[in-house]
């Protein structure tokens, strides 16, 4: 249960009424939008069903009244089948701990599907609580030629009807005022004409429940008796059975049998409700007869078509991943450059020592290394938000349902699994909409296989470092294609896992899938902006909290203890190299000033570096420009060397000295790291990670990323900065990874190593929050532990096979 606010403001001596109001209705009718408009909260809304899976609370005011608004999960009925439906019914009855019992209810009805929406509407109205109908999507209904006579609808239902358009803020104040009046002057209770046997059954059961009332601790109402009679199961039944014992249960089933009189009670209920709704609709609804298919039908015909729909899906997804690379480049370079400059500036300001290392190698290299991926995260969520708001996600779910039902998964599993691509946690929570326990557990188990946004920095780092930046067919970026492929790795492993689970320990029948395809809507900039703000903010918060903390701890473990003998040894080596240089200096040149000549040689090299700094990739024009610059440098050096031969000799010796210094400093940093706590721990685990092509540093970074997957990027940044001593301008993490070496001088990373790390992170369960939510949703440690052990084992084996195969193929 989450609360937006429960605070109350007391203004002068005015008397305050407080009322709890429940928002109820079908999924995807705009309840969350209305909740946001009423309370000023920023709850997630989307154009697909099943976004709200637990009750949310917020407050709003009207004159001297304060309304506590309870947003309930959308359900098609009050029958207690799936956990989200139970939440709705229990909240209406005030049986959820910490949630106030509603004094009134706002029934949210979608005008474009009024008949179906009124089914739950009649169930709620039977409870007799003061109610107001909020009629949404009237514009959509009108665009389809449907006209609703709201006055007649209000008269028929016996409650006020207010037309609202929450995203535009229309009808909100009128709704509050109407609600205020309805609470003080409630309408009449709705009574439908059920068959006599059925009605008698409800009365008899109600009398029995009233007898049981003392033991139950509350007075059950007649609508509750009706629900119990029809459902014949659920938490309320369990409670009555426990209190009433066997005798009560026997009587209950006798009453049910008599009430059904050989028919199905749920069928009787549905017939009565739809009979009444049909009659009302003839009076309140006018629909223009439209010939042929609507535009939505035509578009749906393509988007949900087995072949064309699948092609559109693949093209849309492909375009997203292409854009992630093409669009994010300049922004990433800017952030990268910003952190590089910050590191250089801070490094220049601080004196040499541990504190400088902590700030530059720990904090800036760690946190900065992760933050440069913010543009890619934002681009990914920009597309997700647009597709959600457009209504495309439900079509994608419909398409995938066909495929996945072959692997024993209910269609209801697709919305949660689709949400998992953004973050596994809402995916796991979204599995509450699934009635069948075994299918729900399977979905929860599979959710972490979907590539969440935390994996994006890991993929992009290694793809940028080791996959060539070339275009296929003239427009497809190879890097984008590899990223797209990485998103499929988890899905490919989830399929056999689902098959094994559904045919083994979590066997259950595939239930029919009922998915509402919402109307297409133009994406609302505000809603899209909100998603970007929240997801971007969440990413930055994680970088500033847990990633920062882990970076500092990894730095400390990698910095201490500092062996004085290591410093002495390397100081002596530098002194020796400097001595050799001094002896070799040609200290005379009759023709020119030696210092000035040296400066000119250096200027040539600096100009060459500047010319080639922005040149990346393996395209012919890049290679040609690099070769041209090399040629120019050689020609300039040769010309200057001919003029100042002695200075040229000195310059060559100076370059050698710089190289020696750099090598000695790198060796010093490497030895300190090996000698540190992190290094010692790393060497213990090294034999286990060596077959994956990793050394102990990558192994330790993978272990340190247990709190969150993207931590590996920060940890690698910290470890490799600690392990090398760069005097010149700081390198980007991609360059650090490309240039990292083993103690024997060979390159640490290759395409095979990069692929092995990406496959490991596509499949591992390195996310503490996901495992915690899995424990919460399954009410057992068994499932998160099984998930962690299974996914880690699978990730290890898959990374091992990937490395060995890629290495054998020359990667």
């Amino acid at each position: 249960m989450t609360e937006a606010s429960t605070s109350t403001r007391h203004e002068g001596h005015a008397r305050h009424d407080r009322h709890a109001i429940a928002l109820m209705g079908n999924p995807n009718t705009g309840k969350s939008s209305l909740f946001n408009a009423l309370t000023g909260a920023r709850q997630k809304i989307a154009n697909f069903p099943g976004v709200t899976v637990e009750a949310k609370i917020g407050t709003t005011r009207f004159e001297n009244s304060e309304f506590t608004i309870i947003d309930l999960p959308g359900t098609y009925s009050l029958a207690a089948r799936s956990p989200d439906e139970r939440v709705a019914t229990d909240a209406l009855l005030g049986r959820i701990e910490g949630t106030p019992k509603p004094d009134g209810v706002v029934i949210v009805l979608d005008a474009s599907s009024l008949d179906r929406n009124l089914y739950i509407g009649t169930q709620v109205l039977e409870f007799g609580l003061p109610a107001v109908v909020a009629l949404t999507m009237l514009d959509v209904a009108e665009s389809r030629g449907i006209k609703i006579d709201t006055e007649k609808l209000s008269k028929t239902l016996g409650v006020p009807v207010v037309v609202v358009n929450a995203p535009k803020g229309k009808g909100i104040d009128e709704l509050k005022g109407t609600l205020h009046r309805a609470l003080h002057h409630p309408g009449k209770k709705l009574e439908l004409s059920y068959p006599d046997d059925f009605k008698r059954g409800v009365d008899t059961l109600h009398a029995e429940l009233l007898d049981l009332g003392v033991k139950l601790g509350f007075t059950p109402t007649r609508p509750e008796a009706l629900r119990l009679l029809v459902d014949g199961a659920g938490p309320f039944f369990d409670e009555c059975e426990e209190v009433g014992g066997e005798e009560w249960t026997r009587k209950f089933f006798e009453i049910r049998e008599r009430a059904a009189a050989g028919r199905s009670l749920s069928m009787l209920e549905a017939q009565t409700r739809y009979g009444a709704i049909g009659q009302w609709m003839r009076e309140v609804k006018q629909a223009e007869a439209r010939e042929g298919r609507t535009r939505t039908d035509v578009v749906d015909g393509i988007l949900t078509h087995k072949l064309w729909g699948s092609l559109v899906f693949i093209v849309v997804m492909g375009l997203i991943f292409q854009s992630i690379y093409s669009w994010s480049g300049p922004l990433m370079d800017t952030i990268d450059g910003g952190f590089g400059a910050l590191g250089d500036w801070v490094g220049g300001m601080m004196g040499e020592g541990a504190l400088k290392s902590l700030v530059v190698d720990g904090v800036i290299a760690g946190v900065g290394g992760v933050l440069i991926f913010l543009p890619q995260i934002l681009i990914l969520f920009l597309f997700i938000a647009i597709l959600e708001d457009l209504g495309y996600m439900s079509r994608a779910a419909f398409l995938m349902d066909r495929l996945m039902s072959r692997f024993g998964l209910s269609g209801k599993a697709f919305i949660p699994l689709l949400s998992s691509f953004a973050c596994n946690i809402p995916g796991i929570m979204g599995a509450r909409v699934i009635e069948d326990r075994n299918t729900r557990l399977t979905t929860i188990f599979l959710a972490p296989f979907m590539s969440c946004s935390a994996r994006l920095p890991v993929y992009t780092l290694f793809i940028a470092a080791f996959v060539p930046q070339i275009k296929l067919l003239g427009f497809l970026e190879l890097q984008g294609l590899v990223l797209f492929a990485m998103y499929w790795v988890g899905v490919l492993f989830a399929i056999p896992t689902a098959l094994v689970l559904k045919k083994g320990i979590l066997k259950s029948k595939v239930t029919p899938f009922l998915l509402e395809l919402p109307s297409y809507k133009m994406p609302r900039p505000k809603a899209v902006g909100r998603v970007l703000w929240e997801r971007g903010g969440s990413f930055v918060r994680r970088a500033g909290t847990i990633i920062l903390a882990v970076s500092v701890l990894v730095w400390a473990a990698g910095y201490f203890p500092r062996g004085a003998e290591i410093d002495d040894k390397h100081d002596a080596a530098i002194a020796a190299a400097e001595g050799a240089y001094s002896e070799a200096v040609v200290s005379f040149d009759p023709e020119a000033d030696i210092e000035s000549a040296l400066a000119q040689f250096k200027a040539i090299d600096d100009a060459h570096e500047e010319r080639t700094a922005g040149l990346e990739g393996e395209e012919p024009e890049v290679e040609a420009a690099t070769a041209e610059s090399d040629k120019q440098r050689e020609a300039e050096i040769a010309e200057l060397a001919a003029k100042h031969p002695a200075a040229f000799t000195d310059y060559e010796n100076w370059l050698k000295l710089e190289e020696q210094r750099s090598e000695i400093e790198n060796r010093r940093a490497g030895e300190h790291l090996e000698n540190s706590i992190l290094g010692r721990m790393g060497h213990v685990i090294e034999p286990a990670v060596e077959p994956l092509g990793w050394d102990w540093r990558i192994g330790m970074a993978a272990i340190a990323s247990f709190p969150a997957r993207e931590v590996i990027v920060a940890t690698l940044g910290t470890i490799f900065n600690l392990g090398s001593e760069e005097d010149e301008e700081s390198q980007t993490l991609r360059e650090v990874v490309q240039n990292a070496t083993r103690p024997d001088g060979s390159k640490l990373f290759s395409l095979a190593t990069g692929l092995s790390i990406m496959v490991f992170f596509a499949l591992c369960a390195q996310c503490a929050a996901t495992l915690a939510v899995m424990r919460r949703e399954t009410n057992s440690w068994k499932w998160p532990l099984a998930s962690f052990a299974y996914m880690t084992g699978l990730a290890y084996v898959a990374a091992l096979v990937t490395f060995q195969v890629a290495h054998a193929l020359g990667g």
Binding site: R42, L355, P426, E534, S538, A549, P707, A772, P784
Partner: protein
């Protein structure tokens, strides 16, 4: 000396924060808190 004290303070704060997060994660597992990992489930006031 000041440098050593600063480093000890920063590393201790990071360790304390990490320990608090472990405790918080256990509370999430027991259903006593929201995880706040992705922000999707948490409504906020304007």
């Amino acid at each position: 000396m000041l440098e050593a004290v600063t480093i000890i303070a920063i590393v201790t704060a990071a360790a304390a924060f990490a320990a608090w997060r472990v405790w918080q994660t256990l509370r999430v597992a027991r259903g006593q808190a929201d995880c706040n990992a992705c922000g999707a489930c948490k409504p906020e006031h304007k």
